[in-house]
Protein backbone atom coordinates (compact mmCIF):
# COMPACT_ATOMS: atom_id res chain seq x y z
CA UNK A 1 0.00 0.00 0.00
CA UNK A 2 1.43 3.41 -0.94
CA UNK A 3 1.85 6.20 1.60
CA UNK A 4 -0.80 8.19 -0.23
CA UNK A 5 -3.48 5.52 -0.01
CA UNK A 6 -2.87 5.13 3.74
CA UNK A 7 -3.45 8.82 4.38
CA UNK A 8 -6.44 10.49 2.74
CA UNK A 9 -4.77 13.90 3.25
CA UNK A 10 -2.06 12.92 0.79
CA UNK A 11 0.68 11.44 2.94
CA UNK A 12 2.02 14.67 4.43
CA UNK A 13 1.08 16.23 7.75
CA UNK A 14 -1.85 18.60 7.23
CA UNK A 15 -3.32 21.26 9.49
CA UNK A 16 -6.50 20.11 11.17
CA UNK A 17 -9.69 20.56 9.17
CA UNK A 18 -11.57 23.79 9.95
CA UNK A 19 -15.29 24.14 9.47
CA UNK A 20 -16.77 27.63 8.87
CA UNK A 21 -20.11 28.57 10.41
CA UNK A 22 -21.91 31.90 10.02
CA UNK A 23 -24.24 33.28 12.68
CA UNK A 24 -26.79 35.89 11.64
CA UNK A 25 -29.33 36.56 14.35
CA UNK A 26 -31.61 39.51 15.05
CA UNK A 27 -32.31 40.60 18.58
CA UNK A 28 -34.88 43.11 19.77
CA UNK A 29 -34.49 44.61 23.25
CA UNK A 30 -37.16 46.27 25.38
CA UNK A 31 -35.91 49.71 26.42
CA UNK A 32 -37.91 49.88 29.66
CA UNK A 33 -39.93 52.82 31.07
CA UNK A 34 -37.02 55.13 31.80
CA UNK A 35 -35.19 54.79 28.48
CA UNK A 36 -38.49 54.97 26.57
CA UNK A 37 -39.26 58.35 28.12
CA UNK A 38 -35.67 59.55 27.57
CA UNK A 39 -35.70 58.63 23.89
CA UNK A 40 -39.21 60.07 23.32
CA UNK A 41 -38.01 63.43 24.69
CA UNK A 42 -34.88 63.24 22.58
CA UNK A 43 -36.88 62.44 19.43
CA UNK A 44 -39.83 64.79 19.88
CA UNK A 45 -38.23 67.78 21.60
CA UNK A 46 -34.45 67.39 21.20
CA UNK A 47 -34.06 67.56 24.96
CA UNK A 48 -31.91 65.43 27.27
CA UNK A 49 -33.22 64.30 30.64
CA UNK A 50 -31.72 62.40 33.55
CA UNK A 51 -33.11 61.20 36.87
CA UNK A 52 -32.01 62.29 40.31
CA UNK A 53 -31.44 59.97 43.26
CA UNK A 54 -33.15 61.53 46.30
CA UNK A 55 -30.49 59.92 48.52
CA UNK A 56 -27.14 60.99 47.08
CA UNK A 57 -28.52 63.66 44.67
CA UNK A 58 -26.66 62.10 41.71
CA UNK A 59 -28.29 62.87 38.36
CA UNK A 60 -28.08 59.69 36.32
CA UNK A 61 -27.75 59.47 32.56
CA UNK A 62 -28.73 56.89 31.37
CA UNK A 63 -31.86 57.34 33.54
CA UNK A 64 -32.70 54.27 35.61
CA UNK A 65 -35.09 53.21 38.35
CA UNK A 66 -32.49 52.33 41.03
CA UNK A 67 -29.38 54.13 42.29
CA UNK A 68 -26.79 51.37 42.72
CA UNK A 69 -24.90 53.32 45.35
CA UNK A 70 -27.89 54.08 47.61
CA UNK A 71 -29.78 50.91 46.60
CA UNK A 72 -32.89 53.09 46.56
CA UNK A 73 -35.42 54.34 44.04
CA UNK A 74 -34.68 57.33 41.83
CA UNK A 75 -37.57 59.21 40.28
CA UNK A 76 -37.30 62.97 39.78
CA UNK A 77 -36.65 63.81 36.13
CA UNK A 78 -34.10 66.60 35.59
CA UNK A 79 -33.28 68.25 32.29
CA UNK A 80 -29.56 68.46 31.57
CA UNK A 81 -27.60 70.51 29.05
CA UNK A 82 -26.68 69.48 25.52
CA UNK A 83 -23.17 70.71 26.33
CA UNK A 84 -20.63 68.97 28.49
CA UNK A 85 -17.04 67.97 29.07
CA UNK A 86 -14.93 65.10 27.72
CA UNK A 87 -13.82 62.79 30.52
CA UNK A 88 -12.23 60.24 28.20
CA UNK A 89 -11.75 60.04 24.45
CA UNK A 90 -10.12 58.13 21.65
CA UNK A 91 -9.88 57.88 17.89
CA UNK A 92 -10.45 54.29 16.80
CA UNK A 93 -8.30 53.12 13.89
CA UNK A 94 -8.74 49.39 14.20
CA UNK A 95 -11.35 47.98 11.82
CA UNK A 96 -13.96 45.67 13.34
CA UNK A 97 -17.45 44.35 12.72
CA UNK A 98 -20.18 46.56 14.18
CA UNK A 99 -22.61 44.24 15.98
CA UNK A 100 -25.44 46.78 15.48
CA UNK A 101 -25.25 46.38 11.70
CA UNK A 102 -23.07 43.35 10.95
CA UNK A 103 -20.93 45.62 8.75
CA UNK A 104 -17.38 46.81 9.24
CA UNK A 105 -17.49 50.23 10.84
CA UNK A 106 -15.67 52.96 8.89
CA UNK A 107 -12.48 54.12 10.64
CA UNK A 108 -11.09 56.37 11.94
CA UNK A 109 -13.86 57.58 14.22
CA UNK A 110 -13.77 59.64 17.38
CA UNK A 111 -15.56 58.44 20.47
CA UNK A 112 -15.73 59.80 23.96
CA UNK A 113 -17.23 59.55 27.36
CA UNK A 114 -18.96 62.88 28.00
CA UNK A 115 -20.39 64.37 31.18
CA UNK A 116 -23.21 66.72 30.25
CA UNK A 117 -23.62 69.83 32.38
CA UNK A 118 -26.13 68.99 35.11
CA UNK A 119 -25.44 65.23 35.04
CA UNK A 120 -23.34 63.29 37.52
CA UNK A 121 -22.55 60.36 35.26
CA UNK A 122 -21.20 60.31 31.74
CA UNK A 123 -22.43 59.08 28.39
CA UNK A 124 -20.71 57.34 25.48
CA UNK A 125 -20.97 59.09 22.13
CA UNK A 126 -19.24 59.81 18.86
CA UNK A 127 -17.05 62.85 18.28
CA UNK A 128 -17.01 64.84 15.08
CA UNK A 129 -13.26 65.37 15.40
CA UNK A 130 -10.94 62.50 14.42
CA UNK A 131 -7.58 64.14 15.03
CA UNK A 132 -6.37 62.95 18.46
CA UNK A 133 -4.15 66.03 18.78
CA UNK A 134 -7.22 68.28 18.80
CA UNK A 135 -9.08 66.15 21.34
CA UNK A 136 -8.41 65.92 25.04
CA UNK A 137 -9.84 65.24 28.46
CA UNK A 138 -11.45 68.38 29.84
CA UNK A 139 -12.39 69.88 26.45
CA UNK A 140 -15.94 71.10 26.06
CA UNK A 141 -18.35 69.64 23.52
CA UNK A 142 -21.91 70.24 22.29
CA UNK A 143 -24.44 67.76 20.90
CA UNK A 144 -25.29 68.03 17.20
CA UNK A 145 -28.89 66.81 16.75
CA UNK A 146 -30.13 65.18 13.57
CA UNK A 147 -33.03 67.02 11.89
CA UNK A 148 -34.99 63.75 11.54
CA UNK A 149 -35.00 61.81 14.79
CA UNK A 150 -36.10 58.22 15.43
CA UNK A 151 -35.84 57.81 19.20
CA UNK A 152 -32.35 56.36 19.56
CA UNK A 153 -29.11 57.70 20.93
CA UNK A 154 -28.06 58.36 17.34
CA UNK A 155 -30.66 61.17 17.21
CA UNK A 156 -27.57 62.98 18.41
CA UNK A 157 -25.30 62.69 15.39
CA UNK A 158 -22.15 63.34 17.36
CA UNK A 159 -20.57 65.89 19.69
CA UNK A 160 -18.67 68.88 18.34
CA UNK A 161 -15.73 70.56 20.04
CA UNK A 162 -16.62 73.99 21.43
CA UNK A 163 -13.14 75.30 22.23
Amino acid sequence: MSEKSKNPAGGKKEEGLRVPWLLSVEYEYAAGHFATRFFQELRDNGRIWGVRCPGCQRVYIPPRPICGICAGKTGEWVEVSDEGVIVGCTVVNVPFIDPMTGEQRPVPYGFAIIRLDGASTALYHFLEETDPKKLGVGKRVKAVFRPERKGTLLDIKHFRLLD
Binding site: E15, Y29, V87, N93, V94, F96, T121, Y124, G136, L153
Partner: protein, 385 residues
Amino acid sequence: MPHKVGIVATGQTKHTAKRTDINMRELITEAVTRALDDAGLRMSDIDAVMLGNMEPFEGFMLPELWSVEGWGGLGKPAMKFNTGGTVGTSTAIAAYYFAASGIYDTILAVSFEKQSEGHTQTAITTVGDPLWERTMMAGAIGNFAVMASTYVHESGVTEEHAAKIAVKSRRNACNNEYAHLQMPNLTVEEVLASPYLAYPVRRLDFCPQSDGACALVLATEAKAKKLAPQPAWIKAVATAHEQQYMGDSPRRLAEMRSQRAASQRVYKACGISDPVRDLDVAEIYEVATYAELAMYENLGFCAPGQSGKLIDQGVTTMSGQLPVNPSGGVLATNCIGATAMIRVAEAALQIMGKAGKRQVPGAKLALATGYGGNAWTDALILGRE
Protein backbone atom coordinates in the same frame (compact mmCIF):
# COMPACT_ATOMS: atom_id res chain seq x y z
CA MET B 1 -14.21 28.75 59.98
CA PRO B 2 -13.35 27.85 56.39
CA HIS B 3 -11.15 24.79 55.83
CA LYS B 4 -7.58 25.46 54.74
CA VAL B 5 -7.25 24.91 50.98
CA GLY B 6 -4.18 24.68 48.79
CA ILE B 7 -3.46 24.57 45.08
CA VAL B 8 -1.47 21.37 44.59
CA ALA B 9 -1.07 21.23 40.82
CA THR B 10 -1.39 23.29 37.65
CA GLY B 11 -1.61 22.58 33.93
CA GLN B 12 -1.37 24.91 30.95
CA THR B 13 -1.27 24.53 27.20
CA LYS B 14 1.38 26.26 25.14
CA HIS B 15 -0.62 29.41 24.41
CA THR B 16 -0.58 30.60 20.84
CA ALA B 17 -2.57 32.59 18.28
CA LYS B 18 -4.17 29.57 16.61
CA ARG B 19 -4.34 25.95 17.70
CA THR B 20 -5.74 24.68 14.42
CA ASP B 21 -4.35 21.19 15.06
CA ILE B 22 -6.85 20.43 17.83
CA ASN B 23 -10.41 21.29 18.77
CA MET B 24 -11.75 22.90 21.94
CA ARG B 25 -12.19 19.62 23.79
CA GLU B 26 -8.67 18.49 22.93
CA LEU B 27 -7.27 21.85 24.06
CA ILE B 28 -8.97 21.43 27.44
CA THR B 29 -7.75 17.85 27.70
CA GLU B 30 -4.14 19.02 27.33
CA ALA B 31 -4.38 21.36 30.32
CA VAL B 32 -6.42 18.92 32.43
CA THR B 33 -4.03 16.03 31.74
CA ARG B 34 -1.04 18.17 32.69
CA ALA B 35 -2.67 19.26 35.96
CA LEU B 36 -3.68 15.70 36.90
CA ASP B 37 -0.18 14.42 36.04
CA ASP B 38 1.32 17.23 38.10
CA ALA B 39 -0.77 16.08 41.09
CA GLY B 40 -0.27 12.38 40.40
CA LEU B 41 -4.05 11.96 40.25
CA ARG B 42 -6.57 10.37 37.91
CA MET B 43 -9.95 11.87 37.00
CA SER B 44 -11.59 9.34 39.35
CA ASP B 45 -9.77 11.01 42.28
CA ILE B 46 -11.49 14.34 41.58
CA ASP B 47 -14.61 15.07 43.68
CA ALA B 48 -15.98 17.99 41.64
CA VAL B 49 -15.14 20.14 38.62
CA MET B 50 -15.53 23.90 38.09
CA LEU B 51 -15.43 25.05 34.46
CA GLY B 52 -14.94 28.57 33.09
CA ASN B 53 -15.34 29.92 29.56
CA MET B 54 -16.74 32.95 27.67
CA GLU B 55 -19.05 31.16 25.29
CA PRO B 56 -19.94 34.11 22.97
CA PHE B 57 -16.38 34.00 21.62
CA GLU B 58 -16.68 30.48 20.25
CA GLY B 59 -20.43 30.58 19.60
CA PHE B 60 -21.36 27.55 21.69
CA MET B 61 -24.38 27.89 23.95
CA LEU B 62 -23.24 25.02 26.18
CA PRO B 63 -19.53 24.54 25.57
CA GLU B 64 -19.45 22.34 28.65
CA LEU B 65 -21.70 19.83 26.91
CA TRP B 66 -19.60 19.72 23.81
CA SER B 67 -16.38 19.43 25.78
CA VAL B 68 -17.51 17.32 28.75
CA GLU B 69 -15.09 14.51 27.98
CA GLY B 70 -12.28 17.07 27.88
CA TRP B 71 -12.90 18.28 31.40
CA GLY B 72 -13.98 14.95 32.87
CA GLY B 73 -17.38 16.12 34.01
CA LEU B 74 -19.48 13.05 33.21
CA GLY B 75 -21.65 12.34 36.26
CA LYS B 76 -19.53 14.51 38.57
CA PRO B 77 -20.70 17.47 40.65
CA ALA B 78 -19.87 20.44 38.41
CA MET B 79 -20.64 24.09 37.69
CA LYS B 80 -19.77 26.49 34.89
CA PHE B 81 -18.81 30.17 35.20
CA ASN B 82 -18.95 33.04 32.74
CA THR B 83 -17.89 36.38 34.23
CA GLY B 84 -15.95 38.01 31.40
CA GLY B 85 -12.27 38.64 32.00
CA THR B 86 -12.56 37.25 35.50
CA VAL B 87 -13.86 33.84 34.35
CA GLY B 88 -10.63 32.15 35.39
CA THR B 89 -10.45 33.70 38.86
CA SER B 90 -14.20 33.29 39.44
CA THR B 91 -13.83 29.60 38.59
CA ALA B 92 -10.80 29.21 40.87
CA ILE B 93 -12.57 31.09 43.67
CA ALA B 94 -15.66 28.90 43.28
CA ALA B 95 -13.46 25.81 43.59
CA TYR B 96 -11.96 27.36 46.72
CA TYR B 97 -15.43 27.99 48.20
CA PHE B 98 -16.46 24.37 47.66
CA ALA B 99 -13.27 23.08 49.31
CA ALA B 100 -13.17 25.70 52.09
CA SER B 101 -16.77 24.89 52.98
CA GLY B 102 -15.87 21.23 53.38
CA ILE B 103 -18.31 20.09 50.71
CA TYR B 104 -15.57 18.55 48.54
CA ASP B 105 -11.92 17.70 49.21
CA THR B 106 -10.28 17.54 45.78
CA ILE B 107 -11.52 19.88 43.07
CA LEU B 108 -10.45 20.44 39.50
CA ALA B 109 -10.85 23.97 38.12
CA VAL B 110 -10.62 24.32 34.35
CA SER B 111 -10.86 27.32 32.04
CA PHE B 112 -10.27 27.83 28.35
CA GLU B 113 -10.74 30.04 25.31
CA LYS B 114 -10.13 29.34 21.65
CA GLN B 115 -10.27 32.88 20.34
CA SER B 116 -9.13 31.93 16.85
CA GLU B 117 -12.48 30.24 16.28
CA GLY B 118 -14.71 33.29 16.67
CA HIS B 119 -15.02 37.07 16.63
CA THR B 120 -13.56 38.37 19.86
CA GLN B 121 -13.96 42.12 19.35
CA THR B 122 -17.54 41.79 18.12
CA ALA B 123 -18.43 39.57 21.05
CA ILE B 124 -16.82 41.99 23.52
CA THR B 125 -18.80 44.88 22.04
CA THR B 126 -21.98 43.09 23.15
CA VAL B 127 -20.87 43.74 26.73
CA GLY B 128 -22.20 47.25 26.15
CA ASP B 129 -25.89 48.09 26.62
CA PRO B 130 -27.42 48.07 23.11
CA LEU B 131 -29.37 51.29 23.76
CA TRP B 132 -26.58 53.33 25.25
CA GLU B 133 -23.10 51.95 24.58
CA ARG B 134 -22.90 49.28 21.95
CA THR B 135 -23.17 51.68 19.05
CA MET B 136 -19.98 53.51 19.99
CA MET B 137 -17.84 50.77 21.42
CA ALA B 138 -15.07 49.22 19.39
CA GLY B 139 -14.55 45.96 21.19
CA ALA B 140 -12.14 45.89 24.08
CA ILE B 141 -9.71 48.21 22.31
CA GLY B 142 -11.83 51.33 21.78
CA ASN B 143 -13.53 50.99 25.11
CA PHE B 144 -10.22 50.55 26.85
CA ALA B 145 -8.61 53.48 24.99
CA VAL B 146 -11.28 55.85 26.33
CA MET B 147 -10.53 54.74 29.86
CA ALA B 148 -6.78 54.96 29.26
CA SER B 149 -7.08 58.57 28.07
CA THR B 150 -8.62 59.55 31.39
CA TYR B 151 -5.87 57.79 33.29
CA VAL B 152 -3.12 59.40 31.18
CA HIS B 153 -4.69 62.82 31.80
CA GLU B 154 -4.95 62.33 35.55
CA SER B 155 -1.68 60.50 36.26
CA GLY B 156 0.70 62.17 33.82
CA VAL B 157 2.09 58.80 32.66
CA THR B 158 3.81 58.99 29.29
CA GLU B 159 3.92 56.78 26.22
CA GLU B 160 7.46 55.85 27.29
CA HIS B 161 6.19 54.54 30.64
CA ALA B 162 3.63 52.43 28.81
CA ALA B 163 6.28 51.18 26.37
CA LYS B 164 8.49 50.09 29.25
CA ILE B 165 5.63 47.92 30.54
CA ALA B 166 5.24 46.39 27.07
CA VAL B 167 8.95 45.55 26.96
CA LYS B 168 8.98 44.12 30.49
CA SER B 169 6.06 41.80 29.74
CA ARG B 170 7.23 40.44 26.39
CA ARG B 171 10.77 39.91 27.71
CA ASN B 172 9.53 38.19 30.89
CA ALA B 173 7.45 35.96 28.64
CA CYS B 174 10.66 34.53 27.18
CA ASN B 175 11.21 32.76 30.52
CA ASN B 176 7.73 31.19 30.34
CA GLU B 177 7.47 28.13 28.12
CA TYR B 178 3.66 28.55 27.92
CA ALA B 179 3.59 32.26 26.92
CA HIS B 180 2.24 33.33 23.53
CA LEU B 181 4.17 36.54 22.67
CA GLN B 182 7.84 36.08 23.46
CA MET B 183 9.89 39.04 22.22
CA PRO B 184 13.42 38.89 23.67
CA ASN B 185 14.69 41.88 21.72
CA LEU B 186 11.68 44.20 21.97
CA THR B 187 12.67 47.83 22.64
CA VAL B 188 10.84 50.92 23.87
CA GLU B 189 11.48 52.49 20.44
CA GLU B 190 9.74 49.62 18.66
CA VAL B 191 6.71 49.92 20.92
CA LEU B 192 6.55 53.67 20.25
CA ALA B 193 6.81 53.03 16.50
CA SER B 194 3.84 50.63 16.47
CA PRO B 195 0.62 52.16 15.08
CA TYR B 196 -2.25 53.46 17.21
CA LEU B 197 -5.09 50.95 17.41
CA ALA B 198 -7.10 53.60 19.22
CA TYR B 199 -5.33 56.66 20.60
CA PRO B 200 -3.46 56.54 23.04
CA VAL B 201 -3.20 52.74 22.76
CA ARG B 202 -0.67 51.40 20.28
CA ARG B 203 -0.59 47.90 18.87
CA LEU B 204 2.23 46.82 21.20
CA ASP B 205 0.43 48.39 24.18
CA PHE B 206 -2.35 45.82 23.85
CA CYS B 207 -2.66 42.12 24.60
CA PRO B 208 -2.77 39.47 21.85
CA GLN B 209 -5.65 37.06 21.18
CA SER B 210 -4.65 33.56 22.19
CA ASP B 211 -5.89 29.99 22.20
CA GLY B 212 -5.24 28.29 25.49
CA ALA B 213 -6.47 26.39 28.53
CA CYS B 214 -5.48 26.23 32.16
CA ALA B 215 -6.32 23.82 34.98
CA LEU B 216 -5.76 23.79 38.74
CA VAL B 217 -6.15 21.06 41.34
CA LEU B 218 -7.24 22.34 44.75
CA ALA B 219 -7.37 20.23 47.89
CA THR B 220 -8.24 20.60 51.55
CA GLU B 221 -5.34 20.64 54.03
CA ALA B 222 -4.69 16.95 54.77
CA LYS B 223 -5.08 15.95 51.11
CA ALA B 224 -3.03 18.89 49.89
CA LYS B 225 -0.09 17.97 52.13
CA LYS B 226 -0.10 14.45 50.67
CA LEU B 227 -0.33 15.65 47.08
CA ALA B 228 2.30 18.40 47.04
CA PRO B 229 5.51 19.01 49.02
CA GLN B 230 4.64 22.72 49.09
CA PRO B 231 1.03 23.55 48.25
CA ALA B 232 0.17 27.14 47.38
CA TRP B 233 -2.23 27.87 50.24
CA ILE B 234 -5.13 30.18 49.44
CA LYS B 235 -4.96 32.86 52.13
CA ALA B 236 -7.78 35.11 50.98
CA VAL B 237 -10.14 35.65 48.03
CA ALA B 238 -12.39 38.55 47.05
CA THR B 239 -14.70 39.51 44.21
CA ALA B 240 -16.27 42.91 43.54
CA HIS B 241 -18.49 44.44 40.86
CA GLU B 242 -18.95 47.90 39.33
CA GLN B 243 -22.12 49.85 38.48
CA GLN B 244 -23.97 49.17 35.24
CA TYR B 245 -22.89 51.78 32.70
CA MET B 246 -19.41 52.65 31.53
CA GLY B 247 -19.91 56.30 32.46
CA ASP B 248 -21.20 55.70 35.97
CA SER B 249 -17.65 55.87 37.23
CA PRO B 250 -16.18 58.33 34.74
CA ARG B 251 -12.72 57.85 36.22
CA ARG B 252 -12.99 54.09 35.58
CA LEU B 253 -9.39 53.06 35.00
CA ALA B 254 -7.99 55.90 37.09
CA GLU B 255 -10.21 54.84 39.96
CA MET B 256 -11.31 51.20 39.43
CA ARG B 257 -13.66 50.98 42.38
CA SER B 258 -14.07 47.21 41.98
CA GLN B 259 -10.32 46.57 42.01
CA ARG B 260 -9.75 48.82 45.00
CA ALA B 261 -12.54 47.04 46.90
CA ALA B 262 -11.34 43.52 46.07
CA SER B 263 -7.65 44.16 46.75
CA GLN B 264 -8.27 46.05 50.01
CA ARG B 265 -10.38 43.13 51.21
CA VAL B 266 -7.68 40.49 50.60
CA TYR B 267 -4.93 42.75 51.99
CA LYS B 268 -6.93 43.27 55.16
CA ALA B 269 -7.57 39.54 55.53
CA CYS B 270 -3.81 38.86 55.29
CA GLY B 271 -2.57 41.83 57.33
CA ILE B 272 -0.90 43.40 54.28
CA SER B 273 -0.42 47.13 54.82
CA ASP B 274 2.31 47.82 52.25
CA PRO B 275 1.84 45.49 49.25
CA VAL B 276 5.23 46.29 47.66
CA ARG B 277 6.98 45.38 50.90
CA ASP B 278 4.72 42.53 52.01
CA LEU B 279 4.11 40.69 48.72
CA ASP B 280 6.92 38.82 46.94
CA VAL B 281 5.32 38.62 43.50
CA ALA B 282 2.12 39.67 41.72
CA GLU B 283 0.40 38.16 38.69
CA ILE B 284 -2.14 40.78 37.61
CA TYR B 285 -4.72 40.87 34.82
CA GLU B 286 -3.53 43.82 32.73
CA VAL B 287 -5.11 43.94 29.29
CA ALA B 288 -2.87 46.80 28.21
CA THR B 289 0.20 48.70 29.34
CA TYR B 290 -1.86 51.62 30.65
CA ALA B 291 -3.99 49.18 32.65
CA GLU B 292 -0.90 47.82 34.40
CA LEU B 293 0.19 51.37 35.28
CA ALA B 294 -3.29 52.26 36.60
CA MET B 295 -3.42 49.01 38.54
CA TYR B 296 -0.16 49.86 40.32
CA GLU B 297 -2.14 52.70 41.90
CA ASN B 298 -5.40 50.84 42.38
CA LEU B 299 -3.66 47.82 43.95
CA GLY B 300 -1.80 50.14 46.32
CA PHE B 301 1.67 49.54 44.85
CA CYS B 302 2.23 53.31 44.67
CA ALA B 303 0.60 56.64 45.43
CA PRO B 304 -1.66 58.31 42.81
CA GLY B 305 0.37 59.59 39.87
CA GLN B 306 3.48 57.57 40.80
CA SER B 307 3.06 54.50 38.58
CA GLY B 308 5.44 55.84 35.92
CA LYS B 309 8.09 56.29 38.56
CA LEU B 310 7.58 52.69 39.69
CA ILE B 311 8.45 51.29 36.25
CA ASP B 312 11.23 53.88 35.75
CA GLN B 313 12.84 52.63 38.95
CA GLY B 314 12.38 49.00 37.94
CA VAL B 315 10.43 48.13 41.10
CA THR B 316 8.14 45.75 39.19
CA THR B 317 10.80 44.11 36.99
CA MET B 318 12.23 40.67 37.75
CA SER B 319 15.07 42.19 39.77
CA GLY B 320 12.84 44.75 41.53
CA GLN B 321 11.25 44.70 44.97
CA LEU B 322 7.89 43.41 43.66
CA PRO B 323 8.13 41.60 40.31
CA VAL B 324 4.81 42.00 38.47
CA ASN B 325 3.91 39.33 35.91
CA PRO B 326 7.07 37.22 35.67
CA SER B 327 5.00 35.07 33.27
CA GLY B 328 4.66 37.94 30.78
CA GLY B 329 1.09 38.51 31.93
CA VAL B 330 -1.90 39.23 29.74
CA LEU B 331 0.21 41.43 27.45
CA ALA B 332 1.95 38.21 26.40
CA THR B 333 -0.99 35.78 26.54
CA ASN B 334 -4.73 36.38 26.46
CA CYS B 335 -6.94 33.34 26.06
CA ILE B 336 -9.72 35.22 27.82
CA GLY B 337 -11.61 32.49 29.68
CA ALA B 338 -8.31 31.01 30.88
CA THR B 339 -6.37 34.25 31.39
CA ALA B 340 -7.34 35.02 34.99
CA MET B 341 -6.80 31.38 35.99
CA ILE B 342 -3.33 31.57 34.45
CA ARG B 343 -2.62 34.41 36.91
CA VAL B 344 -3.58 32.05 39.75
CA ALA B 345 -1.59 29.14 38.27
CA GLU B 346 1.49 31.33 37.81
CA ALA B 347 1.20 32.74 41.34
CA ALA B 348 0.85 29.14 42.62
CA LEU B 349 3.96 28.03 40.68
CA GLN B 350 5.89 30.88 42.33
CA ILE B 351 4.78 29.81 45.83
CA MET B 352 5.45 26.12 45.09
CA GLY B 353 8.94 27.03 43.82
CA LYS B 354 8.13 25.49 40.44
CA ALA B 355 8.26 28.57 38.22
CA GLY B 356 11.53 27.56 36.52
CA LYS B 357 13.37 30.39 34.76
CA ARG B 358 10.74 32.90 35.88
CA GLN B 359 10.95 31.94 39.56
CA VAL B 360 11.15 34.83 42.02
CA PRO B 361 13.64 33.40 44.54
CA GLY B 362 12.04 32.50 47.86
CA ALA B 363 8.55 33.80 46.98
CA LYS B 364 6.33 33.34 50.04
CA LEU B 365 3.32 35.56 49.36
CA ALA B 366 1.73 36.21 45.97
CA LEU B 367 -1.18 38.26 44.62
CA ALA B 368 -3.26 37.13 41.64
CA THR B 369 -6.01 39.27 40.11
CA GLY B 370 -8.70 38.98 37.48
CA TYR B 371 -10.24 41.97 35.72
CA GLY B 372 -13.45 41.72 33.74
CA GLY B 373 -13.70 44.83 31.64
CA ASN B 374 -15.87 47.33 33.44
CA ALA B 375 -17.59 44.81 35.60
CA TRP B 376 -15.76 42.43 37.87
CA THR B 377 -12.47 42.41 39.73
CA ASP B 378 -11.25 39.33 41.60
CA ALA B 379 -8.23 39.03 43.88
CA LEU B 380 -6.50 36.11 45.58
CA ILE B 381 -3.54 35.91 47.95
CA LEU B 382 -1.51 32.70 47.88
CA GLY B 383 1.14 31.82 50.44
CA ARG B 384 3.55 29.15 51.66
CA GLU B 385 1.91 28.81 55.05
